[in-house]
Symmetry: C2
Subunit: 135 residues, 2 copies
DNA sequence: CTTGACTCTATAGTAACTATAGAGTTTAAA
DNA sequence: TTTAAACTCTATAGTTACTATAGAGTCAAG
């Protein structure tokens, strides 16, 4: 099948598919006489795998590693486990950061209300006042 | 003062300062005879303001808006409030997304343990098995 | 044959930095 | 005065994961 069909089957844009090829995530083993890329069912599966990993926020580099590991069926899968653990930790860390940020933003937001001028704005004052304290 | 001194005072890299100038967040009103940028205390304050906003994950575009608003002391500050509300909502949304992702990753992680081969790896199988179900 | 849809490669853009190259300026020490 | 190191400048490119566009080629149906 050609790239447009693959794109439809996998709900992935033609441009992204070409990008993944450039990034060595998906390869095109065949071309038509007119130089069109030709894909088989294995490519469909690989692209769906890639998309699933992207949905998990795994980076292209990590996905590349998983694809490499997948090519050694007899090898130990502890690398997969380790990658997943690291990834979970990273997500957890990011959650904590965002929770803190949200609280900070809420505090800041409460320092201002309607019917004020820029000059009286508690938010801007805090952002500016903090500077003086920092110095 | 010159750019290096400003960088030290604000804990901001020389390159980032130049980048902010290019992005219209900070302007250099003076240059030395040798074409070196010259900054005053107002620039220090403005850069600290920018950094504080960046720490709140506000985009450069949003910060640009705030700086513009700051230049109209008599105007209403409801735009500031609205921006903050929108930003808080975006952070909240992202937190929810990440919490869901973390749960999904944990479920996936539990499908595998040590001492398995790639072929037996529950994580990879799930990522690959899901494809078949999708079809 | 014509035309519209599809495909190709190349290039540039997004956001917020970050690094490097090569050239010019400044400053302090010899 | 000279020298050398530190600092500064502009231009360009890179990071990540896409996304868009231009101009040219291919294909299939009318």
């Amino acid at each position: 099948m050609k790239i447009g069909e693959l794109a439809k089957k996998t709900d992935c844009s033609v441009q992204t598919i070409r990008y993944y090829e450039k990034e060595q995530l998906l390869c095109t083993t065949q071309r038509s006489d007119g130089n069109f890329r030709l894909y088989d069912e294995a490519a469909v599966e690989q692209l769906l795998f890639i998309k699933l990993c992207r949905n998990l926020d795994l980076s292209l580099s990590e996905i590349r590693q998983l694809l490499t590991l997948k090519r050694s069926p007899g090898a130990q899968c502890d690398q997969v486990n380790r990658m997943m653990d690291t990834h979970i930790q990273q997500v957890e860390t990011r959650i904590q950061e965002l929770v803190q940020l949200r609280e900070h933003l809420k505090v800041l937001r409460r320092s201002c209300s309607s019917e004020r001028t820029i000059e009286q704005c508690g938010i801007l004052q805090t952002l500016t006042t903090n500077q003086h304290q920092k110095r």
